[in-house]
């Protein structure tokens, strides 16, 4: 087959398709969005297989689980924090087990390029006691995805693939292999999936008993490699995922390489680790994310007579993403010669709201409206509008997790904050804002929810939204918000005065109000225009 140029994310998607994928589900989130983008493009409108954006990651996970229970192969993809949202079905699906192959792709974001934390999904795989792959390059992303489906079916558990930003968003050549056909519909054993305590206890025992098989599969995986340098018993390196590349980058000359164990599977390949540790005195653990392997190796007491180095011992930075330089430092090599400009006043160029963005008009009105109150809190959420935290707007005071704005505004209001304002986008509202609004409506809490309806998931590149326009209004009404206090504004400079006035009226209302700021995303409008032209 012909080689293809693919993003790491796309290599995963193509691997899934060639493994006979029947259903793929996801919620947009950087750096994972391109997996589903690719699946949707390749699905031929759902004729070849189902590929669809879901309303949130929990829903996506459960949809994939339903496909797996039907005996077919399913993939669910998300960014790392998305797995927090999907944690409930994720943890429990390990206990019910999979019927058709179930592959969970989670893209971590070390360095927080576009995220609120750098949590390491390998802990989630360990927590659920399932198998995990961590590809180091594009070809592995493709091959491991195919392998994940086979393994999920042979072990009867979901398999997690841990991606990281630098692989997800890097492009390279991939050699695909002939595709296989989809599984037929095959009903499974419902009793396994019914986690009443009596069944759950039995199923959990089965999962725990499988752990030996998982370790065996890890020990013999073709994706791990141990190269012993018999001449060097001083230093050995354990490197996982893309960290392996940073190690090799610093040892271009093969003859200079110390013993290196490349790890790409979890639970850890214990036999390989024992072999390496036996051979050397010092072990440097190089891994992207938390010191997962290093901690496993150290335990509480360490290994007598061995010097274990890594993030815990300060040889590598314990936060942020690795790079060829930081690994070079950990290897105690001289830095490469480079140039530096001294005394030049470099100006940072942070991301910002686009020219003409509706959020900018909304924030100008909000700032002015709140100016008439001595104090206030604006709880915000996750999307482009989070950039409203930065100057020149400085309009919001929180960004925690999807949907949190509405619940936090309620808590704030109940603690005495006035005005207590939530700012949330239409897609984030559909994702996780409905339930807290139902809560606030039931108590008619004195707070104002500002829904920024730009009719798209803008931040991640314009994926479709589930709740916009009239439908959004009807849903808000259906949740129990008084019709009189559901207001719509059009955030445009010419409407500034009236928008400020409407906001003030609703802040003054002693009870729950929802203001919808409705105007299409400028990027989305441009994209539409372009696709019409083509």
């Amino acid at each position: 087959m012909k080689q293809e140029v693919l993003l790491g994310d796309e290599a995963v998607a193509l691997g899934a398709i060639h493994a006979g994928l029947s259903g793929g589900y996801s919620y947009p989130g950087t750096p994972a969005s391109e997996i589903m983008e690719y699946l949707i493009r390749a699905s031929n409108g759902g004729k070849k297989f189902i590929a669809s954006w879901s309303v949130n990651e929990k829903v996506a996970y459960e949809e994939a689980l339903g496909v797996s229970y039907a005996g077919k192969r399913a993939l669910v993809s998300m960014k790392h924090v998305g797995l927090n949202v999907a944690a409930d079905p994720f943890m429990n699906s390990a206990i019910t087990g999979a019927n058709g192959g179930l592959v969970v792709v989670v893209a971590d974001d070390p360095g927080m390029h576009s995220s609120q934390n750098e949590q390491d999904s390998r802990y989630f795989a360990q927590f659920a006691q399932i198998f995990c792959f961590e590809p180091s390059n594009h070809q592995e992303a493709y091959d491991m995805t195919r392998k994940s489906f086979d393994l999920s079916e042979s072990l009867g558990i979901p398999v997690l693939i841990r991606m990281v930003t630098r692989l997800s968003h890097s492009r390279s050549r991939v050699q695909p292999h002939p595709p296989q056909v989809q599984n037929p519909l095959k009903y499974g054993e419902g009793i396994d999936w019914t986690l009443l305590p009596v069944n759950a206890r039995r199923q959990f025992k089965i999962l725990v008993e499988k752990q030996g098989d998982l370790i065996k599969a890890s020990n013999k995986s073709e994706f791990n490699s141990l190269r012993i340098n018999t001449d060097n018993t001083e230093l050995g390196i354990i490197a996982s995922g893309i960290a392996y590349n940073y190690v090799l980058e610093n040892y271009k000359d093969e003859t200079e390489r110390p013993s290196i164990l490349k790890i790409t599977t979890y639970p850890l390949p214990e036999d390989l680790i024992k072999k390496l540790v036996k051979h050397v005195d010092t072990i440097l653990v190089v891994e992207e994310g938390y010191p997962f392997i290093e901690k496993n190796l150290m335990g509480i007491f360490g290994i007598v007579g061995k010097d274990i180095r890594g993030k815990l011992s300060g040889y590598l930075p314990s936060t942020g993403e690795l790079s060829p330089e930081t690994v070079r430092q950990g290897l105690e090599m001289e830095p490469l010669p480079k140039r530096q400009i001294k005394d030049f006043p470099m100006a940072a160029r942070p991301p910002q709201l686009c020219q003409g963005c509706s959020h900018a008009d909304t924030y100008r009105a909000l700032n002015e409206a709140l100016g008439s109150y001595p104090q206030s809190n604006v709880f915000s959420d996750i999307g482009c509008y989070t950039l409203g935290a930065l100057p020149p707007y400085s309009a919001i005071q929180s960004c925690v997790c999807m949907g949190a704005s509405v619940s936090m505004a309620k808590g704030g209001a109940e603690a005495g904050v006035y005005p207590s304002v939530a700012v949330i986008g239409d897609s984030t509202f559909a994702h996780s804002g409905l339930t807290p609004l139902l809560d606030a409506a039931a108590k008619d809490t004195n707070m104002t929810v500002l829904i920024l309806d730009n009719a798209t998931v803008a931040m991640t590149g314009g994926q479709p939204t589930f709740l916009s326009g009239e439908k959004l209004e009807r849903v808000i009404e259906g949740l129990g918000v008084g019709k009189k206090h559901i207001r719509t504004i059009i955030p445009l400079p010419k409407n500034h005065e009236i928008n400020v006035q409407i906001m003030k009226e609703e802040f003054d209302h002693n009870g729950l109000s929802v203001i919808i700021a409705a105007r299409e995303c400028v990027q989305q409008a441009r994209r539409k225009k372009r696709s019409e032209a083509e």
Binding site: Q3, V5, T30, P31, S33, E34, H113, S114, R166, L167, H169, S170, R171, S172, R173, I242, N245, Y246, L248, E249, S323, P324, E325, R328, P335, L336, P337, K338, R339, Q340, I341, F344, P345, M346, A347, A348, R349, P350, P351, Q352, L353, C354, C384, L387, M459, T460, G461, R530, A533, E534
Partner: protein, 190 residues
Amino acid sequence: MKQDIILAGVGGQGILSIAFVIDNAALKEGYNFKQAEVHGMAQRGGAVQSHLRLSSDPIFSDLIPKGGADMILSVEPLECLRYLDYLSPEGVVVTSQSSFVNIPNYPDIEKVLSEIETLEKKVLVDSEKLAKEAGSPRAQNMVMLGAASPHLILREENLKAFIRVLFEPRGDKMVEMNLKAFELGRSAAL
């Protein structure tokens, strides 16, 4: 044979289009390549960079080590300075001299340009003027690709072939305009 390139610019300037053309030309010529790019929050009107690595040997890291880049190719002058610590002592800077000012504290442009002038190997091109001459200020990215082309290890005709592929969906006029931008950039740099 290897070439490590830092592509730089501001979100929206079409850095990834340059990368597309180089990636595909590299594939055609049988080079290994890796190209790390920035999506999402990091992109909106902010500084954007892409690490593009070409080599006839296997490539390990997706990121170019600091001090390892053979070229910085920038569609904006301030942005090329941002990544100077990636440039190897023998490396070349190919940059636009047309500033894109979307921040209040953008330094004095004369200072930016004179800083670039102090570099040993540099190519400065008025990409804004040449792109307009080609037909659209948005074609500055292809002007800069043209300006870089004499220094690339890839053949000119392959670069042009993938400019065609890239712009074909938007019609012949777009293809011709971007090819002209490439040509103008190339002759300005030669």
